[in-house]
Amino acid sequence: MIRPTILSCAAVLAFTVAASAQIPPPAHVNGFAVVDSGGDLIRGKNATAAMHLDLGIYEVDFSTSVKKCVFTATKGRPDSNGSNVAGFVTVAGRGGTDTGVYIKTFDAKGMSVDVGFHLNVRC
């Protein structure tokens, strides 16, 4: 009776240790950018530039490679005045450069439109 209990406790302990060893450290924001509808970089961290490429298309560049990072973005004004209308934002790595993020913005009907956005990059 005792031996199975000890064995099961050891198994649980081993699993717990293994599981805790696999837990990644807390994520930190490695960079962010707040960009207005004209493609100007209003503020950011580790963001070096932003530009308006075409209708509803932007590029945001960072000081280091973001090739293996996670990009999340939400449509939003860069300031604290007024509000927004509904719309979409999509993200992708920028082709040809490891330091860039490629952003596309849309209105509620899915049509490309120039709008400001907030972008977080976590690596």
Partner: protein, 141 residues
């Protein structure tokens, strides 16, 4: 005769009502909440988070101090421990728990007018109409 004299007044009233309808409601008007002192900005690299339920209440988060319905349906103010005017706000519509899921919907962000530690979040149905929805927000500074 009576109709003729009242016609200009009726026209003015109709025009005024029309312009009001065109302008629509004003969102993100200065918050009614006032803080005696502005909080300092958080250290660089800090990320604040908040999970807010469909009623506009703060469920959990890191560095989040409060959440409340701001200006009626679909608008929520989320406040944090530090000044977030220099940060980026990224939000996603989503359940607060592990049961069920939300249908497709929109969400937008902007700094809260008059509250440096606040973010003004608006949630919309897929038809673009303001609607109360739960969400997750990540503020990177």
């Amino acid at each position: 005769m009576y109709l003729h004299r009242s016609l200009p007044l009726a026209m003015v009233l109709a025009a005024a009502m029309g312009s009001l309808a065109m302008a629509g409601p004003v969102h993100n008007a200065p918050s009614k909440i006032t803080y005696k002192t502005a909080p300092p900005p958080p250290p660089a690299g800090i990320s604040y988070t908040a999970v807010v339920n469909i009623k506009g209440n703060l469920v959990r988060g890191s560095g989040a101090t409060a959440a409340m319905r701001a200006e009626g349906t679909g608008s929520t103010e989320v406040d944090f421990a530090g000044d977030v005017t220099g940060c980026a706000y990224v939000a996603t519509v989503g359940e607060t728990g592990s049961d069920g899921a939300e249908p497709a919907a929109f969400i937008t962000v902007v700094g809260r007018s008059g509250v440096p530690q606040g973010v003004f979040v608006e949630t919309f149905s897929l038809k673009g109409k303001l609607k109360n929805l739960p969400f997750h927000i990540d503020v990177g500074c």
